[in-house]
Amino acid sequence: MGLLSIIRKIKRKEKEIRILMVGLDNSGKTTIVLRINGEDTSVVSPTLGFNIKTIIYQKYTLNIWDVGGQKTIRSYWRNYFEQTDGLVWVVDSSDLRRLEDCKAELDNLLKEERLSGSSLLILANKQDIKGALTPEEIAKVLNLEAMDKTRHWQIVGCSAFTGEGLLEGFDWLVQDIASRIYVLD
């Protein structure tokens, strides 16, 4: 059985896409998930473990795993890498002091072999805050251009506060994954 037959086989299954959302604590992951799901964002607690949401998006079922980013919890991220189609890395663009941390954690994550085939969406969040770095600046700080050429990635500026940029980002991610996984009829 070659590549095509496997893809065809997968194609027949339900169009489910699994997305893992990670990033430093306070970057806005939970708020983003609530926002795209149309839920109230006025009281959001720091995520102790997980926040799992199933969202119907176009013709796909997105299974979104939002994992807490507090340092204590980061070591558990890797338990959830298996079967991830898309990776969303959320950056607090206004947290200038921790950009180095942010870069180090992202670099670590991308070394992970089990994530090697997943598309990467970087959300430069909190664009509504005055003084936030632009997506271009974030891309520079994170040195995204130097990323492995086989990786599909995209950076998008957004705000979970206003909702700006979120759909654009998820559109790209879902299209990119879909075109790889559900490519042929």
């Binding site: 059985m1 070659g2 590549l3 496997i6 086989k9 997968i10 299954k13 489910e16 604590d25 006025s42 009281v43 959001v44 607690s45 720091p46 102790l48 473990g49 997980f50 926040n51 799992i52 795993w65 507090q70 340092k71 204590t72 919890i73 980061r74 070591s75 558990y76 890797r78 338990n79 959830y80 298996e82 079967q83 206004s94 947290d95 200038l96 002091r97 950009l99 180095e100 180090a104 954690e105 670099d107 994550l109 070394k111 992970e112 072999e113 089990r114 090697s116 085939g117 909190k126 805050i129 005055k130 003084g131 936030a132 770095l133 600046e137 520079k140 040195n143 130097a146 086989t150 996984i181």
Partner: protein, 354 residues
């Protein structure tokens, strides 16, 4: 599954990416991922189907004790499977280990799916347990399985992202970063023994940073969206409403009087926090921190708090979550500040005028 793997490894499409061996390997691992993924989908739909047909298998939702009993059953079963591994037929070891691995994955999933309603210490200790089980499995695999030459299987050559040497990266950092300088954000930094006052009223909403202060008093009035506090010693910090979050890192001997939607406290020592907060304050790597309710006033604060939806006492200030504390008993790292030791109402508008 087995068939697919054999087919994949023995019949890589010769037209694809033959030129570059590293690309080829990447490509193979992606193929492998897809086939694993496919298998999981099959498995999932099977489990789902059997769960539907067997109503007793469906969990009673949001019950901690139910979760705990399922968790501990699976845990003991995995532990005994691990123990049996050494005794089993060498030709069976591989499949035995794979099966344990998938049981652990199921357990991880159970934790993840239930974590939203579990008490925080249960989440933490379950996470730790599953991680420890993984660890044991890896140790056992390393011991029992002969080293493979090359495998297309995408199963973990598990690297620990935490344990990996970070030093090395740090060293490369300056050179990589040199192309870009992070602009300074508005704030106060590098001061000693001063009174620092700022009013956000009328300015565009943004973030504010306070760092590297020694023996200072900081008074922030008006509302701000995000506040970052780094490295303070013997300081007092009074703030009006923060409509997003406050991040405190590396403070000692300080007093904070703050109102915010979220507060995260890292590396704090012997400091008091007087808070009004809409979600549970959390501490990580901290000790000797004490909590009390917000006690600040200045001209116009009522209205600012109302606009920021921080006018009501939520009692969350006393509901602190210590991310490093794994047990049900009170964390020794924080406590409630006894009433007779608390500050009275602090009026910062008065002292500014005088």
């Amino acid at each position: 599954m087995e068939n697919e793997e054999v087919a994949l490894s023995s019949n890589p499409n010769p037209n694809l990416l033959v030129a570059d061996p590293s690309l080829q390997k990447k490509h193979q691992s992606m193929l492998d991922r897809l086939s694993n993924r496919h298998q999981t989908r099959l498995d999932n739909s099977l489990t789902r189907r059997s769960a539907e047909s067997d109503s007793s298998a469906s969990p009673s939702f949001e019950s901690t004790s139910n979760f705990l009993s399922r968790f501990s059953n699976s845990k003991s079963s995995i532990e005994s499977q691990l123990a049996q591994c050494r005794l089993c037929d060498p030709t069976q070891v591989k499949s035995h280990l794979d099966q344990i691995s998938s049981s652990i994955s199921d357990l991880e999933k159970l934790v993840a799916e239930n974590s939203y309603f579990l008490p925080s210490y249960e989440v933490r200790s379950s996470l730790k347990t599953t991680s420890d089980l993984r660890q044991s499995l890896e140790v056992l695999s390393a011991e029992l399985l002969p080293k493979k030459k090359f495998s297309f299987r995408n199963k973990p050559t598990r690297k620990d992202p935490i344990a990996e040497p970070k030093e090395e990266e740090k060293e490369q950092e300056p050179e990589k970063k040199s192309g870009f300088r992070v602009p300074d954000s508005p704030g106060f930094w590098n001061k000693k023994g001063e009174i620092l006052v700022h009013n956000f009223k009328g300015s565009e909403v943004g973030e504010f940073s306070i760092s590297d202060l020694d023996s200072c008093e900081v008074r922030l009035m008006g509302s701000v969206r995000a506040l970052f506090v780094h490295r303070l010693r013997n300081c007092r910090l009074y703030t009006g409403p923060v409509t997003g979050s406050v991040l405190v890192d590396g403070v000692e001997g300080c007093v904070f009087v703050m109102a915010s939607h979220q507060i995260r406290i890292h590396n704090a020592k012997t400091s008091d926090f007087y808070l009004r907060v809409r979600s549970r304050p959390i501490i990580e790597d901290s000790c000797g921190v004490r909590f009390a309710p917000y006690c600040l006033t200045y001209k116009g604060i009522e209205e600012e708090l109302r606009e920021a939806s921080l006018d009501k006492e939520t009692e969350k200030w006393s509901n602190v979550d210590d991310f490093l504390w794994l047990r049900a008993v009170q964390s020794p790292n924080w406590s409630i500040l006894p009433e007779n030791e608390r500050l009275g109402l602090v009026d910062i508008s008065k002292s500014v005028e005088s």
